[in-house]
């Protein structure tokens, strides 16, 4: 592994892995405590529509995915704030329609031969310098938002009714959390792929939730655990020539099982 670190693409992969892990630790915590896991899953899959649009129109894929994912997040926010009863149905709808748009547009693109699997299961070894800048920028934005609005976000997440009574703009923060989730999903797609995004946003968080008594410690612990899983997964995938995203997720899942067994025994 050590000699592998001298390659630039491995360095990029490690940095990307840690950045994405820290980000998904923070945002995953918010997603889990706000019970938005299904919503985030919907955004992740709908984001494939963005990949399709980007390939079809020739704009950078990162940009296309970002715009489309944020757009999907806004629709989700709008629908779920307005229509409390049929949330599941609408999320499922956006989930499926986004993917369908992506697939049709890829079909329609002449001479298309980009590796579809890399979007479904991630391509961390193909992370570029630009991707890293984007991830770092998102990380800074998230730290900034969390520092500035921690109390409001905590209040909205814990008890939205009371938060709205005390004058906090619940819809704004709800939408903000969804938009940040969308951006997180976009970068996590690079690392673990859109199918496995949800595992990265939930497994480390589940463990952290049981170890922490406040939201920010949950975020920190999640970030740390996710980084650990990512590095170990990356190392295994390099050593045994396995798909990195799937390896990271299996490392996470096995650790979760171990954690649950230890918890049971205690």
């Amino acid at each position: 592994m050590l000699e592998a670190l001298s390659y630039e693409f491995i360095q990029n992969a490690v940095i990307a892995g840690i950045l994405v892990s820290l980000i998904s630790g923070i945002i995953g915590s918010l997603v889990v405590v706000n019970r938005m896991v299904f919503l985030a899953g919907g955004i992740a899959h709908a984001a494939y529509g963005g990949i399709g649009i980007a390939i079809f129109t020739g704009i950078p894929i990162f940009l296309g995915t970002t715009i489309f994912a944020v757009f999907a997040a806004l629709i989700m926010a709008f629908v779920t704030i307005k229509q409390r009863e049929n949330i599941d149905t609408f999320i499922g709808l956006i989930w499926a329609v986004g993917m369908a748009i992506g697939i049709i547009l890829v079909d329609l693109t002449p001479g298309y031969n980009v590796d579809l699997m890399s979007y479904l299961f991630g391509s961390i070894l193909a992370v570029t310098r630009e991707d890293l800048y984007f991830m770092a920028a998102l990380f800074v934005v998230i730290i900034f938002v969390m520092t500035f609005w921690y109390r409001d976000i905590l209040a909205v997440s814990y008890d939205s009714e009371y938060a709205s009574l005390s004058g906090i703009n619940v819809k704004f923060f709800y939408t903000l959390i969804l938009i940040l989730s969308a951006l997180t999903v976009v970068i996590a797609i690079k690392v673990v792929g859109l199918i496995l995004v949800i595992a990265l946003l939930t497994i480390p968080i589940y463990i952290a939730q049981n170890l922490s008594s406040s939201l920010y410690s949950m975020m920190l612990i999640s970030g740390f655990i996710a980084s650990l899983f990512t590095i170990v997964g990356l190392w295994l995938s390099y050593s045994f020539d396995l798909t990195s995203g799937a390896t990271i997720i299996l490392v996470s899942a096995l650790s979760l099982m171990l954690f649950m067994i230890v918890q049971k025994i205690r």
Binding site: F148, R151, L154, D159, Y162, L165, S166, G167, S213
Partner: protein
């Protein structure tokens, strides 16, 4: 003395409210004086929650008027400490008791990160008031129902309200815990007005000074007379149904 003993803290006049076309509340009149211990009772769907939402300014006022501390209603959470129903939601949430309490602060100047020292101190102070000081750093989910309700009361007290409004405060708490909550409310009632929405008459009547029965219309009772009547008519057991009927019927 800054406050007259009988200062009106809430004044409701001719208040009506309808969802769609069906009236839920009709021409309600209610005056709450300073340091009353008022209990709002009534059947489910009788309009108790609607009245609470109107007092808190969650529902818009359609006709009639609500004055809080002699001022027309606006966002009143700074004057009314509110303890919502159902504190069992989200018990797995990673939040400490003191953080829950600090949700009750209404300060505009805030620390950039975390909480100011005064805010933490004040939160500890209210936690002490409700007897939960030693649980400040405990995860809210690890507390019992009664302890959690005390934390919610502390949150409501955080902004130093003149009025404390509780919606079914003991609905999911065991008998011992219920008694403790009401003892606490009696203690708090020495300084502030307490309004409790409840259907659990037998407990509440020991503590209430006034009762309002709401079933679309409102019947109001000063308990000093009713209590006497009951002490005469029954030795030990008070039948809630009879009591409810009586409270619902007579217009005092």
């Amino acid at each position: 003395m800054q406050t007259k003993f009988n200062q009106r803290v809430i004044e409701i006049e001719n208040l009506s409210f309808a969802y769609d076309k069906e009236f839920v509340l009709e021409k309600i009149n209610l005056i709450v004086d300073n340091r009353d211990f008022l209990v709002l009772i009534g059947p489910n769907g009788g309009g108790k929650s609607t009245l609470v939402k109107l007092i808190l300014g969650i529902n818009p006022i359609q006709s009639g008027s609500v004055k809080i501390l002699n001022k027309p209603l606006h966002n009143s959470l700074s004057q009314i400490g509110y303890v919502p129903q159902n504190t069992n939601v989200n018990t797995n949430f990673p939040i400490k008791a003191i953080e829950v309490v600090m949700m009750g602060h209404h300060t505009h100047k805030r620390a950039i990160f975390g909480y100011k020292k005064e805010e933490t101190e004040h939160a500890m102070h209210v936690l002490r008031q409700v007897g939960m000081e030693e649980f400040a750093d405990k995860k809210i989910g690890s507390l019992s129902g009664g302890q959690r309700q005390r934390v919610m009361i502390a949150r409501a007290l955080c902004a130093n309200p003149k009025i404390l409004l509780l919606d079914e405060p003991t609905s999911s708490i065991d008998a011992d815990g219920q008694k403790q909550i009401y003892e606490l409310l009696r203690e708090l009632n020495k300084k502030i007005t307490v309004i409790v929405v409840s259907h659990d008459l037998s407990v509440v009547l020991q503590y209430a000074t006034k009762v309002a029965h709401i079933n679309k219309k409102l019947a109001f009772h000063d308990l000093s007379s009713v209590k006497k009547e009951f002490e005469m008519s029954s030795d030990t057991h008070v039948c809630e149904v009879e009591l409810l009927q009586m409270l619902g019927k007579c217009k005092c």
